[in-house]
Symmetry: C2
């Protein structure tokens, strides 16, 4: 009790300002849930007086006992991740593995009596398909061991890892699935397809990339691939499974047009952002 | 107690199978945290015997008191959303607003002694920029009221809502920011840019779309836009803020090339997926 007889509730620590008149609380140390609730309530009163808008609480998975009191104080889920990568060194592979030190839940609260302008969560998963053709107009195709496309010869495809460039992902997936190496400097995006509700509620973007092979001996490398081969491009497009599916046949048609040099796609240009990050812009030559 | 003297713990209800030898628990009714913990433990033992792999628990925000016991039993955060949309009717706008009935946290657990093959969370936010040019080779530009780009004349840009097509988003953002209506059938993607760590740990894809205006009177409509105008395309590209930024100058160059018809972009083709969903494939004509 303070001298005024009013109990002093300590405010939350580890509070940073964001760029939009909001605050970010990065909880690090364990805290008793009831003490947390009282501090959170006192802190929100203080932030309201200061005219703050959005309040973000980043809770490591080790502090999951604080989720419930935060929700009871009016907080909402914004997003959660199995592992947060260190800002300095993007390594997308880390994301797939849960990590007790960095997995977290992000909670949000909007203080003003105005509509929330909090940004939405990531909305898309991004995939790549590799169109690799040799000098005999044969295309590199694979058969998957399971799933809806089992039995069909298809382009190697996969998911872009977090932090990975589209062109890097396309080359990596082709290498992983077939052992075929491809040129770095000749990647061309021939088409992309957007579809919705393909993964939980999320949307999906698939980029079909032309890749130029530098090796030709197929070495199937991963369990999800049953077989891989070089196949005449017309035989690939003539498969019943390709012909009956509008998406597959449209993409096969694009690949055939490109193989006859009737069309060209987008090539990547490296650029630097205003804040000094490397980026790629994919556009017509 | 049962007759054997062993306490019978009820298994979890509302369990569905997924397509990958896993199970999905959709918790709907409130449950005592300790009873939940015991049922979860008993259920996992049962699933282990059955050879199940991934276990998903979808917890509505109203059951946030069950997060901590699930984590203590070894579950991990996979993703969380402020609102889950009904599967039948995509309405992206809902996502921005928290919804007590549908906000949820998805937790996962991997039973086998093998590396997890659980799919990664959505990794990208997707944005659009509208390149709208009138017959006088003037481009539609806006000034933002705040942020890093304040003071610069720039293309109207915005975030693609969950479930929204790229071409729809580009037309919507131009309309919202400037009041200018554009043709549905003439959208062309001129370039896209991928950048990383632009939003929490997530990546960002921006699609620059050529749009053909059908109205010409500017009516600035939203608070985040300070001003909008038609501007000679060369004056737009000659701004110091454009010239000193590699990304902005590359995109301005693409727009100028397109205005001189030296390049063409990708046009959308409507297609139907194998499961009957509508989709767009963006590719060279």
């Amino acid at each position: 009790m303070s001298s005024s007889g009013v109990e002093q509730v300590p405010l939350l620590k580890d509070v940073e300002k964001d760029r939009y008149d909001g605050v970010i609380v990065k909880m690090k140390e364990p805290m008793d849930p009831e003490a947390f609730r009282a501090s959170l309530r006192a802190s929100i009163s203080q932030w309201r007086l200061e005219g703050k808008k959005g309040v973000w609480i980043k809770l490591p998975i080790g502090l999951s006992n604080l989720v419930h009191p935060a929700v009871e104080e009016g907080f909402w889920y914004h997003h959660a991740e199995p592992a947060a990568k260190p800002d300095a060194e993007p390594d997308a592979k880390l994301d797939a593995e849960p990590d007790a030190k960095t997995a977290y839940l992000m909670l949000v609260y909007w203080i003003p009596n105005t509509p929330s302008t909090l940004p939405a969560n990531a909305s898309h998963r991004v995939g790549v398909g590799g169109f690799v053709m040799n000098s005999k107009r044969e295309v590199l195709v694979v058969k998957e061991t399971s799933g809806k496309l089992k039995g069909m010869w298809k382009l190697p495809t996969g998911v872009v890892d977090e932090g990975e460039d589209v062109l890097t992902a396309a080359r990596r997936e082709v290498l992983e699935e077939t052992g075929i190496e491809t040129e770095t400097d000749s990647v061309e995006v021939l088409a992309f397809r957007q579809s919705h509700k393909s993964f939980f509620t999320k949307s999906d973007l698939l980029f079909v990339c032309l890749l130029v092979p530098t090796s030709f001996e197929i070495k199937k490398q991963i369990a999800e691939i049953e077989a891989a081969q070089w196949m005449p491009i017309d035989a690939y497009a003539d498969q019943a499974s390709v012909k009956k599916n509008q998406q597959f046949s449209a993409i096969a048609e694009i690949c055939i047009k490109r193989s006859k040099q009737q069309i060209t796609g987008f090539t990547p240009k490296a650029a630097t952002t205003g804040s000094g990050k490397k980026t790629y812009i994919y556009c017509p030559k």
